[in-house]
Symmetry: C2
């Protein structure tokens, strides 16, 4: 791994070099500053999979899942798939500012530059923007591989462009301009995000395995997989981390789910990632998790320090319903539920590991994402598969293109 | 099953009698009318698991996932777990209307009446309401089993109360006042929801198995489970149906994940439900689904008629990026992606069934929910487990209470 860093972006593990790239950070900051001057009421992120999951993960972790409703300066909308009702709602939302003197910034993101859904949605949103703004080009930023067809088109149209280093794959690209530009525009401290990632990266490339948390966790997961546990449950005890779970779902599924191993032998291998939210999903999944088959390995994630806390107010009569929580803080109740859950797992011999984030700051989230990316690379090595390709995705895309070109 | 209907609410399958209960519907409508007169800016639903998953499912399917942001008369917030940051955000959102002359309706829902998180959040939200409204009782509705401690407290405080029939378990309760009251207050046609459910119910209790869609689908799933597929993926090609997936996740996990079978033999049986969204998750999960192990059975769900459609506008230069979509409608693109995906699954011998909803109307959603509930009951019979209990949930709750009472 240390080797990979010296090779920078010419190595398949290129993503671990992103936290060191001062040049990239300064280019992103420049465009963030520029677009911030437009005082956008909305940022529309057009991208899917690796092009938006990391951004949603960090945005919700740092700013909260109810962010848009809390009336921030810049709201964010994600146009990911070609769902006509959803895209129509997005158009409805951005129309009022466009009709008046508000502004809307659009970030179109596609590594290949040819993602069907992204191009469709990008054209639709740009068309709306163009209807209201003659200088609509000033409100558009394109993030893509340098020299992709989308890149060339963006240059031709006069959009700002940001480059994804070629060897950085979509699911490893959250710390590239893919995540950094939209997050920066929303006021997230992207310097701190990268700092956190760099800190974790340095711990996780340590060659002494026993001192390397990513290597240790990968080994544990590998051993459980070998014992027949084909499901990995990321059980996050924090509402705002649900999208970190969805980001990890892609990372694990695409990196490890493989038809062939590195020796081109057919293996049809893979671990199915699931996302659970504590304590919410204890009320929907705990019966299965504690009574069902021993086919899962669980990773609990919690947050040590929330941004706020509230005490249960000891209203008259309610002690009859739940005496043990009166006067306690919500955080203390949540911590007790996690502790109670771990005890139940232990008693029932349900295997798990645990990670605690100090808080939901940019630095902590950056650390966690970097840790999971390197852990996944190690898991790929242990499973003897290539954690950087996704050859089987082509099959449905090919069929889809064929259907569309005949329609 | 026909038998169960004649027994009404005295049978464990009581939930299938809900669509016939005119008395319940009229009681719910009465309180909906009453609270609508308050012109609430917010409805806060305090409940978790079976007490809110069905409501969220129907609300988002019918009104859309971006509903709150589209500036409706009554917005809805769900207080499910004791996440201090999330609950704090909810308090922030309801404060402006409370400070002025707006109103906020609170629906506290707990079947047992003693759910830890629900009681904690209920007290916190009520405390806020009480601070601003002397007659705060008028803004509160409690839904619970008749005679539960919460029921008695609600009567004592002068809150409106709605009853959950005792034999209707949480995960089967969406068509009871648990779902009907909040949905009705948001303007959803609950009569149509029940009508749809009744239509599906009558099809799904048909004793000739070959004419019974729920029995057929349950049998197919059962056979695939027996062949070692321990994961069931509900793959919904519609953004607004994601929470229908989350509702089904509880239904399947709690109903079928069991330590003991009906003969009290330890079996540790269960199917792990996952939720995927098309086409979004093709960009995160397709590599695993098409390249990984043959450990899944998939159920595709799509919507025939969306509420709106939009054409890709043929902007200059974009045909270079994706020629096959220019001028096509988003719905046609989505349909092609689903068709392409099914072809890829077929070629790769990945087993699936498919359901198409005519639209996202109350009637169609009601049909689908009722269909899945009866299918799950049949699956329980086939697996020889009790689909109505959840004994293992007690273990973590016991541990949690112990920790909290020592704190």
């Amino acid at each position: 791994m240390v080797q990979a860093i010296s090779r920078g972006y010419s190595d398949p593990r290129a993503s671990i070099s992103l936290p060191d790239d001062k040049d990239m950070l300064s280019k992103v900051r420049h465009i963030v500053d520029d677009k911030s001057k437009l005082r956008p009421e909305y940022l529309v992120v057009v991208g899917t999979g690796g092009s938006n999951l990391g951004t949603i993960a960090v945005q919700e972790a740092v700013l909260g899942r109810l962010y848009n409703q809390l009336n921030p300066a810049t709201k964010v909308l994600y146009a990911d798939t070609t769902d006509s009702d959803y895209i129509n709602n997005i158009l409805q939302l951005i129309e009022p500012p466009l009709r008046t003197d508000g502004s809307v910034v659009v970030n179109g993101i596609s590594k290949s530059g040819t993602t069907t859904e992204t191009i469709a949605n990008f054209e639709i949103v740009l068309n709306q923007l163009r209807r209201y703004r003659k200088d609509y080009e000033n409100y558009v930023v394109v993030t893509s591989d340098k020299g992709s067809k989308l890149w060339d088109l963006a240059i031709g149209k006069g959009f700002d462009v940001l480059e994804i280093p070629e060897m950085v794959g979509g699911r490893y690209s959250v710390l590239s301009p893919v995540g950094l530009f939209p997050l920066g525009l929303l006021g997230i401290n992207i310097g701190q995000l990268l700092e956190g990632a760099r800190f974790a990266r340095d711990l996780c490339i340590e060659s002494d395995v026993e001192k390397n948390p990513a290597a240790i966790c990968a080994s544990i997961q590998f051993l459980h997989y070998q014992e027949g546990r084909n499901i990995f449950d990321l059980f996050l005890f924090s509402n705002d981390l649900e999208s970190v779970g969805k980001w990890h779902r892609q990372l694990m599924a695409e990196s490890l789910g493989k038809e062939f191993n590195k020796k081109r032998k057919r293996v049809n291998i893979g671990i199915t990632p699931t996302v659970s939210i504590g304590s919410t999903d204890l009320h929907s999944m705990a019966q299965l998790y504690l009574g069902g088959p021993y086919d899962k390995f669980t990773s609990f994630v919690s947050v040590e320090q929330n941004n706020s806390d509230i005490n249960v107010p000891r209203l008259e009569g309610y002690a009859e319903l739940a005496s043990e929580i009166q006067g306690k803080s919500l955080k203390a109740i949540m911590d007790a539920i996690l502790e109670g859950t771990k005890r139940a797992y232990r008693k029932d011999k349900r295997p798990f590991v645990e990670t605690t984030l100090p808080d939901k700051s940019e630095s902590s989230v950056g650390q966690f994402l970097q840790f999971k990316m390197i852990e996944t690379i190690y898991l790929g090595y242990l499973l003897n598969v290539n954690p950087f390709d996704q050859p089987d995705v082509e099959s449905y895309k090919k069929e889809t293109r064929e259907i569309l070109s005949r329609k």
